[in-house]
């Protein structure tokens, strides 16, 4: 059985208490939320929230946001195996800029010694997602107020070359793809 089809079993810590109907229970849902993130907030819990839209209702009380979030509980371990450490660093780099790892100078032994890699098992987690239009009370639907969703997303801008860049250095495909800029170009 693929791990993607596994179900997240609620524990006392991950059982959703508010808006439980927004909960997602498959491991695939969990990985989708985590994969969509560029950073997560690591505190007593890991807490990463993506905002997808501002949900504008007719009453101020019913305003909401569309979001995807995951809360993962667990104790992180320090990764010591060298191959696993490199795989972890590559995964973090590729999550931010796909294709970057193979384009740059690999870490030296000294740089690796100065870097800690932590691993956290995704065994105890909850996922919560809100999508769709506002949920106004029936008696508010006739109010003359615009209601709907203003979608939100992270966007990437035109790459800004390092002033110290060697003249004539071409902007590589993986940078143009990340910034959403089509066509070839030179940054000098």
């Amino acid at each position: 059985m693929s791990t993607l089809s596994q179900t997240l079993s609620a524990t006392e810590r991950t059982r959703l208490r508010r808006h439980a109907e927004r909960g997602k229970t498959s491991r695939a849902d969990l990985l989708a939320v985590l994969d969509a993130g560029m950073i997560c907030h690591l505190g007593v819990v890991v807490n990463g929230t993506h905002l997808d839209g501002l949900v504008c209702a007719r009453s101020v009380f019913s305003h909401s946001v569309n979001y995807r979030c995951a809360v993962v509980f667990g104790t992180a371990r320090i990764v010591t195996d060298q191959d696993e450490r490199l795989a972890g660093l590559r995964a973090v780099t590729e999550q931010l800029i796909p294709g970057r790892w193979d384009a740059v100078r690999a870490p030296t032994r000294k740089e690796l010694a100065a870097t800690s890699v932590l691993a956290l098992p995704l065994t105890e987690a909850s996922v919560k997602v809100r999508t769709g239009p506002p949920g106004d009370e029936p008696e508010d639907l006739e109010l003359p107020v615009w209601a709907g969703v203003v979608p939100m997303a992270v966007s990437f801008g035109e790459p800004e070359p390092d002033p110290a860049l060697r003249p004539g250095t071409v902007t590589p495909d993986h940078i143009r793809l990340r910034s959403g800029r089509a066509g070839a170009g030179r940054s000098s």
Copy 2:
């Protein structure tokens, strides 16, 4: 003296231990970071981080991100004064969509009773900001690798009207301004 010119005095909890040169020490810097956010993560500490750019260096080790973040310590109090409660709810709403509060139905007494408003004084806080190009080691500067910054920002898309919207309802200015769409338009 304006509070904006006040300095954040470091405490044992807010003293920056890593990359202290990225610290900002004025109250105006703190308010600027908090004002820029749509959400913050409330945990054992309040932790809000804005990503402004992916900093691409020639070595994988020197990759970084441009960011603005603030950490605020303190004990929140429950706001009980009715005017202060309304002012707080208005501020949260206007932070997300300027102009929305006056366009929608105000909260009823019952809705207000179902809402808690918390206040947290900004008296113990640290601010950290990174801007600018990558900081490669001198010996890496001649490598034939593109380096620079891919800027990031939150962008807002075309408003999506509620399917239950009364036909002919005009998309108001405050919604078009939030979504960055110029010109008048009807959403029906």
